[in-house]
Amino acid sequence: MKDMVEIRWHGRGGQGAKTASLLLADAAFNTGKYVQGFPEYGPERMGAPITAYNRISSERCTVHSNIYYPDYVVVVDETLISAVDVTAGLKADGAIVINSGKSPEEIRPLLKGYEGKVCTIDAGKISEEELGKNFPNTPMLAAIVKVSGIVEPEAFVKDMEASFHHKFASKPHVIDGNMRALKRSMEEVKIG
């Protein structure tokens, strides 16, 4: 991993892009990194485009601005591709990870000539099948971890299991589904 990795999340209000960015910060924190996880607040309403950010570094980062030249972009809602300039400033040696049932080849023409890696994962389908509901968070988190290599996959899976046990202490029945969603996503993410 580079000394500093910067990630931008695009989602819609209510989909949990902010939560996912905080979970990623947690996962990196647990491997000894310095982390920042923060949303960009606007007039919050369900369905409106929202942005969240992560900085993950080996030294404390003192910068408190938004991220304009991310190494990675995660798009939690495919429909945002036409509404938001999701690849703005995205580094060519980085990657974009999109929640979509389409292949990277099908998506790439929609990305305004972006030349870096294009990755897709059908987080909605995985979530429906494993959790019975559309919570794309967990699969998207797993996909960006797999694509970016910010955290070792094995350490990540172990860490998430512990954190699910803590988070869902009162509803243990959802732990297994979340773990299956996580693992499936790491296997099924298509890198193009």
Binding site: A25, F29, Y34, Q36, G37, Y41, T62, S65
Partner: protein, 392 residues
């Protein structure tokens, strides 16, 4: 060695409150009161603290509650931001003049209008003359550390204290933080033993009495003296905190100032972004530095004059505007500090920046230093009252 954690700025303040276990929290429980009372209320509910949590219908009442509790002899705390702080204003003066060392956490945010929820310093700067001590933080770590020092400072000089951080930028951002162990916090903060308090049956007293012109001004003079005395207390408590944690605090922080020819004076989270800009400019051989104001009240007049006396040019960054057709509040105070300390050499300009959450980037700060380059080159400041990165 402390406890490695990652918390948002609001969580960090709530954790500090839990560790301190204050007697009373008076708080308006919904926005714009910040998440702090919400987090803290779970500690109350879980029995992790025995604080009396008094949920009230307004910030005016929140501060009134704190005033009553602190006057009775309790440690009282609250938290707010933006228009909530405005709504408290009347009672902020009462708290200060009654010499009640209440602790108020402020996550600084813009004021309407246009309607905006994001960070700037309009709320805190609007109450800068209420007689409260005011410490500002760059990071989540600093807001936590400042909170742990707040009661020691406020109680020593019998003045209320505001612990300010940047709304959203640190208040809602997760960062690494090193927490101090609970027992160490308790030992450092200590017990509150007020000299005079309402519930002391052996010393009947009145709080908030009427003062005729014969007495009013003496009361104010004593308030002013307490603020003057606070400078040494802040340094002393900051040094003692440093012995415990390795993180020492004063009234200001200087960054790369030893040989600096150009400097900016700044407050809050953008100081960190400015440090990154300085690192890049230093790598190009530019002699640039920064002064971060930690204590805005009391204002560190001598420290700032001393730190700026050898620079050729400086820019003071104000994250709000006084709308006086002249300058922002920090610039006014910095210039007054220089003049009263006999420093007249450096050329200074003022930037109003970052209003309503306008993002402050490394490039934004570099723009400021580029302007300072021009001033050093030409010897001419041009317009001193400027807006940074605004469409006109």
């Amino acid at each position: 060695m402390g406890i490695r954690e990652r918390l948002s700025g609001n969580e960090a303040v709530a954790v500090a409150m839990r560790q301190i276990n204050p007697d009373v929290m008076g708080a308006f429980p919904i926005t714009p009161s910040t998440e702090i009372p919400q987090y803290f209320s779970t500690y109350v509910d879980n029995g992790q603290v025995d604080t009396e949590f008094i949920a009230v219908e307004s910030e005016h009442s929140a501060m009134s509650t704190c005033i009553g509790a602190q006057a009775a002899g309790c440690r009282a705390v609250s938290a707010t931001s933006s228009c909530g702080l405005c709504y408290m204003t009347e009672m902020l003066y009462v708290a200060a003049s009654d010499r009640l060392p209440i602790t108020l956490a402020v996550s600084c945010r813009a004021l309407s209008g246009p309607i905006n929820i994001n960070n700037d310093h309009s709320d805190a700067m609007g109450v800068r003359d209420t007689g409260w001590l005011m410490l500002f933080a760059e990071t989540n770590q600093e807001v936590y550390d400042n909170y742990l020092q707040a009661m020691r400072i406020g109680e020593a000089v019998e003045l209320p204290i505001m612990i300010c951080q940047d709304g959203f930028i640190t208040s809602h951002a997760i960062e690494n933080i090193e927490l101090v162990e609970d027992d160490k916090v308790k030992a450092f903060v200590g017990e509150y033993n007020p000299k005079h308090y309402l519930l002391n049956k052996d010393e009947p007293m009145a709080v908030g009495a009427y003062a005729t012109p014969t007495y009013y001004m003496e009361a104010k003079r004593q308030q002013a003296q307490a603020m003057i005395d606070a400078k040494d207390v802040i340094r002393k408590v900051g040094a003692e905190f440093g012995e415990m944690t390795g993180r020492t605090y004063g009234l200001i922080e200087k960054y790369m100032m030893d040989d600096a020819e150009e400097a900016i004076v700044i407050i809050g989270s953008s100081a960190g972004t400015a440090k990154a800009a300085i690192n890049e400019l230093r790598a190009e051989g530019k002699k640039v530095g920064l002064i971060k104001i930690r204590s805005f009240r009391p204002f560190p007049s001598e420290d700032i004059a001393e730190a700026l006396k050898n620079v050729k040019a400086f820019a003071v960054m104000d994250k709000d505007d006084s709308f006086n057709a002249h300058c922002g509040p920090i610039y006014a105070e910095v210039c007054a500090a220089l003049f009263s300390n006999g420093v007249v050499g450096p050329k200074g300009i003022n930037y109003i920046y970052g209003l309503g959450g306008r993002d402050v980037r490394i490039e934004s700060i570099k723009t400021v230093y580029a302007e300072l380059d021009k001033i050093v080159e030409t010897g001419c400041t041009g317009e001193t009252y400027r807006y940074l990165e605004v469409r006109e």
